[in-house]
Symmetry: C2
Subunit: 169 residues, 2 copies
Amino acid sequence: MSLRIALLGLLEAKGPASGYDLAKSFEHSVNHVWQAGHTQIYPELVKMAADGLVAVESEGARGRKIYAITADGARQLRDWLVEHQPSGTIRSETALQAFLLPLLDGDDAVQVVERLRAFFASRLADLECKPHEGPGFGRYALKLGLAQSRASLAWADETLADLKTRSTP
Amino acid sequence: MSLRIALLGLLEAKGPASGYDLAKSFEHSVNHVWQAGHTQIYPELVKMAADGLVAVESEGARGRKIYAITADGARQLRDWLVEHQPSGTIRSETALQAFLLPLLDGDDAVQVVERLRAFFASRLADLECKPHEGPGFGRYALKLGLAQSRASLAWADETLADLKTRSTP
DNA sequence: GCTTGATATGTAAGCTCTTACATGTCAAGC
DNA sequence: GCTTGACATGTAAGAGCTTACATATCAAGC
């Protein structure tokens, strides 16, 4: 379902686009919130067209099909946004490594947290590159991502400090 | 892979357990980091036993099988923790709703953010109930979850304020 | 005109996860 | 002794996602 919603959202916000365009948008904008590669997007667009949520607006070179959101699609998007209680499902390998940290002894644990720290830092840097402030489409999610990344980075620093005091009692 | 790791981690940390026990542990402890129901756990344990990562230590009433982690399993767990670069994959319906927020007009947007706020608040409350501080097994991940939840909650408050200034110019 | 690399679109196999169904045991209260 | 509800273990269908493969076009440089 959420893949559909993300695709509908992109089509609604940025206008008609091809599968390739949408895959690029996933990479560059929705990326920190939801992921999907072209191998998932192309077949999904076909199904969505069959369900009347999008329509092929025009066809260009290289079999390029430009999809546009339909009235039905726009309605479904709005309904989902306003009515759908988001599922709390989170599956995070980074958090899982944090969870299992106490199974490692000192040095190994420090190494893992340092890798996690680097990971959070690079994600934060990614987000900080994106157009801040202003009326950008994904601006709210961007702020959320920034806030969460900063919190994660702070956690890594605290945890490193904690591990070091434990190893030198 | 990560499901296996989570199961190995629980067995390593808490000792031998049945599928049911592990499902309960998922619900009560790993829950904010990784989810799995019994329908996923039972068959996975069978496969893991076939791969020599766990072994049936004893069988009790009601077909209850107690699994224990093997030396191979412990090795694989440690290797994954120390060597595996976590994938940055995040799929969050809450963040997706945040992302698509600008597609809604004022009142609807406020309603959605209020629901998100309630969601974050209840997750935070959940985490705050769990045994804080002390040497608990998942303590680092708990702190990470708390930090992220607080950041998300703060985001919701900021966003509500932002939406309200926009609607009354 | 030919090669090369970026662009662009797809299919298929296999793994992971969810939802729904199916079954049987044990303890407590009647 | 029977019912009921919590405990406990499983299977199966189908949806969702990843990885690997397959192909064809266009632009730029040789």
